[in-house]
Symmetry: D2
């Protein structure tokens, strides 16, 4: 069974496609950034995709050891700050060419007003005992970063206040007024350090989000606070069921799900003061649980491709949660493929969705086509570059795209495709066939890495007076990147590719 | 069109398969080993294939600068030796885990009796003015190597005297008597340094080879010389025609060609004294010209697979000429793919034949099947490992191998294949479609490297009472490696590969 | 002021010097081994020193996440094991060429009978709720290691039961009987897994050590347990005082301190059954607190040199606590130099004591002199290799060693020294003069690394009929390595080191 | 014996010091850039010094294989160009962050009008048979570079025509008129390719230089050629004597030698048309022979320091000949230290002069003192940075510099020195004492590398109302870099560098 779609490209007026796929990516808590395997995974991500910012929880958690107290000679408790690990993390980011998108949280144990925690790693989610101490911490950290990495650099790092305060698990009692106070105090602390710091919130997820967002903006307006951007999260999963170590659920209809973002956008724009304020999706993914096997699949890759083609219509960025599988929110994973959020599995093995990002980040140029399966851009040198996908949420059928591009020069063109589908660039399938080993030998790791690469294919053809026509076949949930370039023939003197054989005589070389 | 062959494997008695594919590999002249790109290519070869020895020309050529002369106070000419470059080359080999198979030649300019040279790089091919000086050089070099790398190590490096003296291009007038003298003098010089050095010759190619070999052995017998091994070369190409920078010709029928080796073997064994003496093929390839596009093709890969399955029947080793494309015998190549001898193209891009060696070098174990398309071995852990090929010299047709392996346990097995054919692991095809660029951008190099990997595929199935049956489809001139392993099921608690979907309902994941 | 000592070396009979300096080294808790900086520091240590084993706490602590529980369908609590992080740690050790000396502890939270913890990182120090569960954990871990790293390899990793149970901080109530039970259960669990595992205890420190050791051995004798070795710890510091983040105390007289080991040795030998049983010092250092500035000094280096020259007389090994400064027992350090236990400071900067180990690990050969300031060995090639030190605990005075070695050949010799003292190989001094910055710029880190190298010096002289005489000057607390080798003169034709100048005419080159 | 000089720094008006030390460095012929060891040496140079351009001979020599000819179907000889090796070399330069300073020469064998060659590697030094062919080659090469590396980048690479045509060894008969023709043809060829290419000559050495320069400028004026810069060479050695493999001579008085440059400058300025035209010294060194032991010495380092302090007064750049010892003009060197031109010896061991460049390239800032022994600059952050040297050509005496800097704040300052002298950073001395081995074991190489680092020392002191006064002691021919920085005291809570001891009580730590 094969679905067929035809596009005559180029008759369209310029398409609007805002590509912010490379703006930001999520990460497990900051303390994990000290790990060797974390850095190795991020290195691969930066080499092949190249994000500009990274955002994660826990900069103030006790494993980062920043906030400390001691008793001075007079018997008073005094704060002191430890930047040893913070520097190691930031040095690693700098070396990997990525800047933080600073999320301020959670609460240092000694500053916390309660002992409620979140996650296996026990982030304290209660308000500070003293907002003065909190502001002191925020400023001390920013000033230290400025001193170490330079003021001009550090003020380009956005600052977000806390994470998902609209959930009682992340902020005691989901106390809205208390969050607003936290936001206000933090906002002032940051701006006093340097008014150029872009500062935003409320970092909410999709629970009571309408109410929270409205109240937040009303509060800001009332208090004359001017956040530089608004943040929220966006997950595309129905409530999952737990089975053993894993969570299973259904993907939401993507168009419906996007509606929530539209609403958020409209709320912001309904405030005169905040109209047009940038909105950042500081977390998004399909499932919101780090144990959902869906994350490692090709359907995830195709679903995310669909999202990346649309999200720029609603917001300034969308940070995939997360780049890698060093992540401990529900404990340490038992197996290499375990439905973690990451683009990269432990063992530094890219998953299909890794390539969705790699493919989108290459879509730089003038967009000449955008549809539900395909984006095509034209580069300055005249060549075309595209990403296509075949998202199959229900019926699994192949998709054949018949495309005509408006090249009329009677020359030869080379079409180069990189394909990820069930049989290619899909290491989880190989791992499954191996018996789903819970640990990998060196040889197995190498096979999985090798099998995780997209397959590359080329074809050539000539333009006619109608343009260049060709087709691309996509297996169910395939994601395909292609480029079409005019061939500059360089045949070397005497070179015969067919070695003197008649190329038409057989099928081989 | 598809050819079909069925094999019921395991009823055979143990097959004889002598796998010496990893014993030795050829190289461009020693002076080229100083180059960065040479070392990079050899590094890839050693990581993925892992040869034990390396053999090439020119250790005594002037670019290696070993032999020098000066005039002493009394006005006499005296020899002195310069080991600066020799050490750099040998250090590089040591670092890469490969030992030399020392070929002694050609003649240092200052020691030469004439000025006849061979190759673009002008190796002098005339006898020494003084055999005393020659022996002095041989001994000085061996003693230096012993001093630097240790006697126990260096005596494991075989020594071969000169290269193809039966061609007038390689040895002035192809003067047989003069070569015998060279052999004798060298033999004594080497054995005096350490009698454990394995020393051999006559390193002839297939011209007048019968006569040369008989005369050589008669000479040794008469002079009471006991070479430790006999060497010859073996190319499989009809005389090529030159067209521009390139040479084209026809591949010989492989079985006929092997006949020459059989004759050589019989000649050796016909001498009572030399019966059973090891024979090393110190060079082999399809074409003997480093500008034959055939070298970069899949047909070359399949042809060499056929050869590797048979050569062990005739000789102790067979050294593919050469590991890489840093090679200057006919000048510096103009383009990345140019029909060079190498397993690796410039840009450090593996060619199809690279994988033939990688696949054969993994065939370690008990051979349970050998035919004209397939070798299967069983490993100590019970798993199977195989290489199959579909050599199509004339008609290009697909080959389907139906195989039954004697596993009877009712368990599940995983078949993992790595395939190289026209569409996979064949970077020259991509390069051709790109327009055969004479130089590569970084991006193009990366695409060619990525496209040069075999495609990996897995399947699972159960054994029945008749064994495990499955089929392998080989495109024309494909080379396929596969392993079959019993699956040790490790399903983690709650893990469902199909994420709750019915796997039978569609084609995807 | 200068002290002078003369040694006529070589008239002595062969000296007894047992050099076990490279047998084992300590580490911060196992979970820290996941960190990039930890691995970088260990890499430096292995490249320049090369220990065979590594021992640290916390393999069973919850950050390693090995022990997990879940409720099965029937509602029973069941154990499951997670080896994800264990494999990462052991893979890192394997890559760095070091084997674990397994210390089994502390108690996983879910298996613990109480909630008493030790250290900033909260290792649980209570007995298991169930010894069956404990034995199950021990066996599961060992079996997994055997499966992954090979049985023959893993049985060479010694196993020690718990850490310092004689302190109530490390083992609830310092309950001796309970520890003996733990030892017995663990011993059986280990030996059942493979009887070849060398298993020992009681890992005590110097508190009540005589009583504990006697009782432990009595218990073993009574229960017919045969530990393969006895372990204890050894620190050389008077009880320190805390001041701010730091601990200060006095070094004990080293000879007196060694007396404790002598007593331990005698206790063991007083048991007929255990006479001659190997004794391992599984931790030693000067101060036992990871915030003692003494650790980073040259006096520490000289003191440890003294120890390394003597400890082999009493025991089979002595594991310096620890190789690096990634260590969190009293929290995360605030500054690069902070008196951590490590041989290497954060920033991967070697400290003076690093070189003490590097120098001792090169003392391989026949010992021909051992005194309180100097050890000299002779190598197989006839050259001499030595380490000297000038330990100044009270009065700081220089030491000049006048040495005569028994070389009588009238040839020239080269003396090469590597010196660490106040002015050389002492990065803490540079850091102090820089103002003791709490964090380092890249440039400062590089300066400190460069300044952390020993200074190298050479001199030449001739032997006379009395041997070779020369002197070595040691600044207070210097540690000096030197070698003396006969020079093989290789002057190249025409080379004049003095470029034609009269070397005697000036002081320069 | 000690010389003493006092400088009260800062009363001077701003000193003129033009620091072009990092503009360009020389290299052995381009074909050698393919070598691994060459690239390794250049990597070290770029990491620690960081030059902007690199200039060497032989881009058109036959080992680079660029110029080729063939006979077409009509029987005509036609040119073709091979860029395989050129791209490898330029890629390596790009990777190492260095741009070529293109020297066009020598003559490809097939284009040459004669067979006169220069050097062991036989560069052909005869005029082209056809200037049309020559211009075609120049343009083809430039256009290829533009295509591969981008036009905007490539036009920043200066172009120089030939090398030392005023010597008959480098240009047949030193034929001036013929060189002028070559210059003119080349100039037009380059400018036609892109008029932005800066193009210059005549690349003369100090033989008949006055006459050549005058005639060259007259020719240019007459022909209305506008070279963008003038180039010449500058060596500081009296004619050396050869002894065995080595050349010995005397260093010229540096001030007298500089006179030649002054003359060149004046000649240029005497032409109205060319007044103020930039002059580049495209080669300089002490001896002009690559076998002069002086090159590896500290006197060379001090002499070059003197030169670097002055050369900017006369010219726009001065390219030290050469960065490394992979160099074959007089053959392949026999030993690691052999008086090669390089800043780095084979084995990648920096020589003393390496540090002269490293020290000068850090002298960025406002010059506040320049004298015959010292240059001091002040940086934007207020700190001072300086290089001092003690050039002793005759009498070898120590030099003590008493310096007062105009800091008046009553704070503490840290003086950090890096010293190279006879005993430090002088690996040749260690090698000499080892017996001058002609080849190095890995261990010896490591010792020499370690010994090749400058010794680092710090001191602190306070400013008084008269400024900060301190002294620097320089051994004969020492080169010392130092910086003086105000200390920002960061003492951590409770840290006592002296560990509780009285620092005044002894000499140690």
């Amino acid at each position: 069974m094969e679905k067929q779609i035809r596009y005559q490209i180029g008759n369209e007026t310029e398409c609007s496609f805002k590509n912010h796929a490379d703006y930001c990516v999520g990460t497990g808590r900051m303390g994990l950034a000290l790990q060797q395997q974390y850095q190795e995974q991020l290195k691969l991500v930066q080499e092949q995709i190249g994000f500009r910012h990274i955002r994660g929880h826990g900069i103030f958690c006790d494993d980062m050891a920043i906030y400390q107290e001691y008793t001075d000679e007079s018997g008073s408790i005094r704060a002191e700050y430890n930047f040893t690990y913070l520097d190691m993390v930031m040095d690693a980011y700098q070396k990997l060419g990525i800047k933080p998108f600073l999320e301020l949280g959670f609460m240092p144990y000694k500053m916390a007003s309660g002992d409620q925690t979140v996650f296996y790693w026990k982030g304290n989610v209660t308000p500070p005992k003293s907002y003065e101490a909190w502001s002191g911490l925020v400023q001390a950290v920013l000033l230290h970063l400025i001193e170490r990495y330079g003021r001009e650099e550090v003020v380009t790092w956005p600052v977000e206040v806390w994470n998902e305060p609209n959930l009682p698990g992340f902020w005691k009692d989901a106390d809205r007024e208390e969050y607003f106070r936290l936001f206000q105090e933090t906002y002032y602390a940051v701006k006093k350090t340097d008014s150029r710091f872009l500062t935003g919130g409320p970092a909410i997820c999709g629970v009571d989000d309408v109410l929270w967002l409205e109240k937040f903006l009303e509060f800001c307006e009332a208090q004359d606070l001017k956040p530089d951007f608004i943040t929220r999260h966006h997950y595309m999963f129905e409530k999952p069921e737990q089975c053993g170590h894993y969570s299973y659920g259904a993907l939401r209809d993507p168009m419906t799900a996007l509606g929530e973002l539209k609403v958020s956008r409209e709320i912001i724009d309904s405030f005169e003061t905040f109209k047009g304020l940038p909105m950042h999706i500081t977390e998004f993914n399909t499932s919101y649980s780090p144990d959902s096997p869906i994350h490692d699949t090709t359907v995830n890759a195709a679903y995310v491709a669909w999202l990346l083609s649309k999200l720029g219509d609603y917001c300034e960025s969308y940070s995939y949660w997360t780049f890698g599988d060093i992540f401990e929110e529900k404990g340490v994973p038992f197996t290499p493929f375990h439905g973690g959020f990451g683009l990269v599995a432990n063992g530094t093995i890219p998953k299909p969705t890794f390539w969705t990002f790699a493919f989108f980040n290459k879509l730089q140029g003038r967009c000449i086509h955008r549809s539900d399966e395909l984006i095509v851009v034209q580069k300055d040198d005249g060549s075309y570059c595209a990403t296509a996908w075949n998202l199959c949420l229900e019926q699994k059928e192949c998709l054949r795209l018949y495309l005509t591009l408006p090249e009329k020069e009677e020359e030869e063109y080379c079409l180069l495709t990189k394909t990820v589908d069930e049989a290619h660039g899909n290491p989880r399938k190989i791992w499954h066939d191996m018996g789903e080993p819970s640990w990998l030998s060196k040889e197995e790791t190498q096979i999985l890495k090798d099998s995780a690469q997209p397959v590359i294919h080329t074809e050539t053809f000539c333009a006619s007076s109608c343009g260049i026509s060709f087709s691309i076949l996509l297996q169910p949930n395939a994601v395909v990147w292609f480029q079409l370039k005019k061939i500059k023939k360089c045949k070397d003197r005497g070179y015969d590719y067919f070695c003197g054989e008649d190329p038409a005589a057989g099928t081989g070389n």
